[in-house]
């Protein structure tokens, strides 16, 4: 009988403590390096890059190290006056992904006044389709990620009333699979990242009751491998970002205690680079701001008190969500 599993082995000399100062230094200097090839390649998702870095800094209580006024000015310049949407970078086309990142950043800064809110609302409303789904931009790609972006964005702007919530929920539920999970479209394979998007949508729309909670939570727990790390689909390697997607979903389902927290924490800590700072997808790989945010946010959900509490639905500091008086639904057991 075969019990082999795709997994990694944690080395004895791995980082075992949280290197907060290193991560703060890493993010503060990220992209300032003129030879940073990776950074030039990520211009097309700059807005999300700012969101990852700022949120990570906020969670560490270090956001004063980010150039606040420049960031706000940059966002203002990325809003397209015609459609109302926001782009990844100046001169790029607007997209719902970057519109959300921009709104999240402005919400953290309490500076939503810096953009044309009605324009953003108009843009998101224009992307909803007859079946309740959302386009990502005018080119018509449909994905449950975009449903989540739409409701998260509108709720941060206190304008959830602008779209058809019932249809939004209906579409997301049509993506539920036979294993209780969710994919990107009806029939697409269950995937932990997309489960986060779908559960998050239901959390914001307060329709968590529509889930098969135990079955879904079990599927999510099955993502945990002997190394302690989590994968996103059966028979895939563990990746740090799934610590966030799986655990935030389990938090919304109120079943986070079903995973083995100790070994997961060891895995997350092992993904730190003790020289450069930052977290990577797997121990020993190159770090980036995306995995750095999800590493810190994951540790926060696990109860690490040197990091601020993170809201599992929004992936933003809980204090921001409280200030905005938002109450995303957490399922009661």
């Amino acid at each position: 009988m075969s019990f082999t599993t795709k997994d990694v082995v944690l080395k004895e000399d791995r980082p075992k403590t949280l290197l907060l100062q290193k991560h703060s230094d890493y993010l503060a200097s990220y992209g300032l390096n003129k030879d940073d090839y990776e950074y030039c390649m990520t211009e097309y998702l700059r807005m999300s890059g700012i969101y990852w870095s700022l949120t990570a800094m906020e969670l560490m209580g270090q956001s004063s190290r980010m150039p606040k006024e420049d960031i706000i000015e940059f966002i203002t310049q990325c809003q397209d006056s015609e459609s109302g949407g926001i782009s990844a970078s100046i001169g790029h086309d607007p997209h719902i992904l970057y519109t959300l990142s921009a709104v999240q950043v402005l919400a953290m800064y309490d500076r939503l006044d810096a953009v044309d809110i009605e324009g953003i609302v108009r843009y998101i409303v224009s992307l909803q389709q007859e079946d309740g789904s959302f386009y990502g931009d005018k080119w018509g790609e449909i994905d449950t990620r975009f449903s989540f972006c739409a409701v998260m964005c509108l709720s941060l702007l206190q304008r959830l009333d602008a779209i058809d919530i019932n249809k939004t929920v209906e579409f997301v539920l049509s993506c539920m699979n036979f294993d209780g999970g969710f994919g990107s479209k009806p029939g697409s394979e269950s995937h932990a990242g997309l489960i986060y998007c779908c559960v998050g949508t239901l959390s914001i729309c307060k329709r968590m009751d529509a889930l098969h909670a135990d079955e879904l939570a079990w599927w999510l727990c099955e993502r945990q491998l002997p190394s302690g790390g989590l994968n996103g689909r059966p028979e895939k390697l563990p990746d740090l970002c799934y610590s966030w997607w799986v655990m935030s979903s389990l938090s919304m389902l109120n079943r986070i205690h079903w995973v083995d927290k100790k070994s997961l924490e060891e895995f997350i800590l092992a993904c730190q680079d003790n020289e450069t700072g930052g977290f990577s997808d797997r121990p020993g790989d190159i770090t980036d701001p995306f995995h750095t945010l999800f590493g810190l946010a994951g540790l926060s959900l696990l109860g690490n008190t040197s990091i601020k509490p993170v809201n599992p639905t929004y992936c933003m500091p809980q204090e921001t969500i409280d200030r905005l008086k938002l109450k995303p639904q957490i399922l009661q057991i």
């Binding site: 009988m1 075969s2 019990f3 990220y30 992209g31 300032l32 390096n33 003129k34 090839y37 950074y39 030039c40 390649m41 211009e43 097309y44 998702l45 700059r46 700012i50 150039p67 420049d70 960031i71 000015e73 940059f74 310049q77 782009s87 100046i90 001169g91 790029h92 086309d93 931009d137 080119w139 018509g140 790609e141 699979n177 036979f178 294993d179 994919g183 479209k185 029939g187 697409s188 394979e189 269950s190 995937h191 909670a213 135990d214 079990w218 599927w219 727990c221 945990q224 002997p226 689909r233 059966p234 028979e235 895939k236 079943r255 205690h257 079903w258 995973v259 083995d260 070994s263 057991i333």
Partner: protein, 334 residues
């Protein structure tokens, strides 16, 4: 990727090309105080400075179509360049067949990129011709049988143009190659659910197929999940199909302790309890015993989950005792 592809010695920068002398390149503008200083390789900078220039002047010409190709070669994930390229294709009335070949080549180099697959889909929609799609996605899945983008595109083409005919054979080949390929099992469900339908005959066929695969590799999450999924459509439910229950008991008897087998037997117990159709194999006592075995021995990492289930069945046991002579209509799901 480690460099900007500067290896081609024949490359002439746009700023040195006479046919582009009428265009003034536009360097990246990050606002008055750049949030982050970005250093590009010379080639990257040159191409994108000219791309920004034509974007501003809204130039729609053959030379810009070439320019977008250079820009995409440097970064195929830049969705603005793809969007502009589509505008160009329409405006210039370009032969879309050539474009199909082009995007196929890009997909081969960047099979995990949202933008290229989306571009492909738009082209197929414009042409209303899906004849190449099964082969294209099949090739991509040969390289990486779990490529989510390729599966999405394949499902879209199959559903939109009704290309179900040979799909089950395709899936069967993938499952034969790797019986743990969850994407392939998902596709199997997709085909049966959208095309064949869950008739009694099909259900029974799928049960046999799945049990055969489980017999081959017992500890296979995907196959067990598929079995559960297809039984949603079997009116006999989880506990009412003797082929399945005796298969499971046989495995158990032969010392198989795969967590997925034990979990499945627990679900059979649950179904039997719900239907008030418990027997000596499938009842609350057995469920408690299996939950405990999983929590303490066979799946310790998820012990909290198994303990939670265990408590549910224990509660059921005690309630059953206290209600011994009453008709009790206990519903054990929440």
């Amino acid at each position: 990727m480690s460099d900007c592809g500067d290896s081609d010695v024949l490359w002439i920068p746009y700023k040195e090309r006479p046919e582009w002398s009428d265009v003034t390149p536009v360097p990246e503008d990050d606002g008055p105080n750049p949030v982050v200083v970005i250093a590009h390789s010379e080639k990257f900078e040159d191409v994108y400075d000219y791309f920004r220039a034509v974007l501003q002047s809204n130039e729609k010409s053959e030379r810009v179509l070439h320019l977008t190709k250079d820009a995409l070669e440097l970064n195929p994930a830049n969705y603005t360049v793809w969007q502009y390229r589509r505008d160009l294709l329409k405006h210039l009335n370009t032969d879309l067949r050539t474009e199909l070949d082009y995007v196929e080549a890009v997909i081969k180099n960047s099979p995990k990129n949202y933008q290229v697959w989306h571009h492909r889909r738009v082209l197929v929609e414009w042409l209303q011709d899906p004849t190449m799609e099964l082969e294209l996605t099949g090739d991509a899945l040969l390289q990486d049988p779990k490529n989510y983008h390729a599966w999405q595109h394949r499902q879209w083409a199959i559903k939109t143009f009704g290309l179900y005919e040979k799909e089950l054979d395709f899936v069967d080949n993938l499952i034969t190659d790797d019986v743990r390929n969850n994407s392939a099992w998902n596709q199997r469900y997709f085909v049966v659910n959208n095309n064949l339908g869950w008739s009694d005959l099909i259900c029974q066929q799928e049960v046999c197929y799945t049990l055969e695969k489980i017999n081959f590799v017992k500890n296979n999450e995907s196959a067990w999940n598929y079995l559960r999924g297809l039984l949603i459509h079997d009116k006999r439910g989880l506990s009412g199909n003797a082929v399945i229950t005796s298969f499971c008991e046989e495995l158990y008897k032969n010392k198989c302790r795969s967590p997925f087998l034990l979990a499945f037997i627990i679900d059979v117990c649950e179904d039997a309890i719900k239907k008030k159709d418990t027997n000596c194999f499938h009842n609350a006592d057995r469920a408690v015993e299996l939950c405990q075995a999983l929590a303490t021995r066979y799946d310790k990492i998820r012990s909290k989950y198994w303990n939670y289930l265990c408590e549910r069945y224990k509660k059921y046991q005690s309630e059953q005792l206290s209600n011994d002579n009453k008709t009790n209509d206990l519903i054990i799901d929440e």
